[in-house]
């Protein structure tokens, strides 16, 4: 019997091929695998120890679509029955006619009336197949065409930091700059306001991206915003987010993910795609109550 040992500390950066633990008492989660007696990392990331399960949170890499993610896409093609969106990922998404608007769109209608080429759209992913075919919907709170403004590309893995706890970071930027800001899970941010304030918002977001690992980041950003806008900024963590706050939704989903991990581990392997669905950010807001009853 080999010794059962954890070789790496929690929240440490691990690299592919690094042996994380020896012995059979630790279990491989996402981003890790088992080779004989060892649990080994298979991507660059932060190690998270969740009980007996070892997993890694990615630090780099392209966005891979996940069910229920809210993303910003750009129309790249108009199809017979919908629109094709580019979502800053290796795979493009399709917005079908029936999910585009709440109103009825007749067959053969001129689709450019709704969304034109190069339009930016805030949409939610409804389904991802095993082949990474992606379906999105525009039906939902806040999901719509994004008119005007500017687009900023950020590291997808830093989106949670940009949004902040319950949307605190992004709502601070919004309040300070009077800009409308939307950050998609796919690392696309949309900012709309006066040119000067847009610039401040862009710089603030870039700063968060660069210094995402620093503790007390919120205070630093607050300082930056106060200096740039000349206004006093208050940090507030919304107790309960309003229905139009899409960012808060994102954060709550993260909590969901944490809860689900142990359960999802049991399904590891034999039902890969179901497992992947389970690991997604939890059910959308409107279905949640229903699920709790179950």
């Amino acid at each position: 019997m080999t010794e059962e040992n954890l070789l790496v500390k929690d929240k440490e950066v691990v690299v592919p091929g690094e042996v994380l633990a020896t012995g059979m008492s630790y279990l491989p989660g996402s981003g890790t695998y088992r080779l004989n007696e060892n649990v080994i990392a298979n991507r660059l990331g932060l190690l998270v120890i969740d009980g007996k399960v070892l997993k890694t949170l990615p630090l780099a890499g392209r966005y891979l679509p996940k069910k229920y993610d809210v993303v910003i896409g750009k129309v790249i093609d108009i199809l017979m029955s919908g629109w094709r969106l580019e979502i800053n990922s290796p795979y493009s998404a399709v917005l079908p006619l029936k999910d585009a608007t709440f109103s009825y769109i007749a067959k053969g209608a001129d689709l450019t009336k709704y969304f034109e080429l190069d339009d930016n759209i805030l949409a939610k992913i409804t389904n991802v197949t095993s082949q990474n075919l992606v379906d999105v919907t525009c039906k939902g709170p806040g999901l719509q065409k994004l008119k005007g403004g500017r687009i900023l590309f950020v590291n997808t893995h830093k989106v949670p930091r940009i949004i902040g706890k319950k949307g605190s970071m992004v709502s601070m930027i919004k309040k300070a700059t009077d800009c409308r800001v939307v950050v998609g899970q796919n690392g696309v941010a949309w900012i709309s306001g006066t040119p000067e304030s847009e610039l401040i918002a862009v710089n603030a977001i870039k700063m968060i991206e660069e210094k995402s690992h620093i503790s007390g980041l919120t205070d630093k950003i607050k300082e930056f915003l106060e200096k740039a806008t000349g206004k006093t900024v208050e940090i507030e963590i919304p107790a309960d987010s309003g229905p139009d706050n899409e960012f808060a939704i994102e954060e709550e989903h993260h909590e969901h993910e944490e809860h689900r991990d142990e359960r999802s581990y049991e399904r590891h392997g034999e039902r890969r795609y179901e497992h992947r669905e389970y690991r997604s950010r939890g059910p959308p807001r409107e279905y949640r109550r229903y699920e709790r009853k179950e």
């Binding site: 950066v13 690299v15 592919p16 091929g17 690094e18 042996v19 981003g31 695998y33 080779l35 060892n38 080994i40 298979n42 991507r43 660059l44 990331g45 990615p58 630090l59 780099a60 890499g61 392209r62 891979l64 290796p90 795979y91 493009s92 095993s130 082949q131 990474n132 893995h157 690992h213």
Partner: protein
Amino acid sequence: MTKYTKRLDNRGMEETRPIEAKAGVIKKADGSAYFRIGKTTAFAAVYGPRELNPRHMQNPKTGILRCNYNMMPFSGTERIRPGPSRRSKEISMVTEKALQPVVNLEDYPNAVVDVFIELIETDAGSRCAGICAASIALADAGITMKDMVAAVSAGIIDHQSVVDLDGEEEHIDEMDVADIPIAMVPSTEEITLLQMDGKATREELLKSIDKVKPVLKNIAEIQRKALKEKYRSE
């Protein structure tokens, strides 16, 4: 008995030239790395996974890996004609095959991962340096992979096995020289690249493969350290 008892640059028989590695050197790329061994310097940039065009090249079962090895015109003593050559095409292909076993391409169906390797300075062992750099760059790009791939050349000079031939040693005329580039997956000791240029007996070859294994594990450690360093300094 061997006449080659001391190496031309006073290195130990199983000692490599000084190695330096760094991750994330090209900002625009999804992942990048720099790997230098002695006077051989390789840069690697990884783009993707991204959409693969033309469509007919797409594979619904798995993503594909595309490697491109290129020597800069000024990299050696003699000017290299720019553009693909028979040699660079071959090395691109073997690099691809050396890296493929560790990369979990099934995670990216229909997509492609592009790896570009540029050598700005060459003094033997350039394909090995290229593979080392590419493997760091792939990890830096956040691509899922089972392990790193480490590569170095083994050598046999007048029946004496050595590690990491430099340009001078490669061109010794008075003695038999065999140059054996080897790439290995450290965790499984699986060999993913093995080529040989020169003459050696079966026993000599097997012996030098055994000798090079600990060296390769060491190089893998250097690669991992380079990746961690990127996040430490930030």
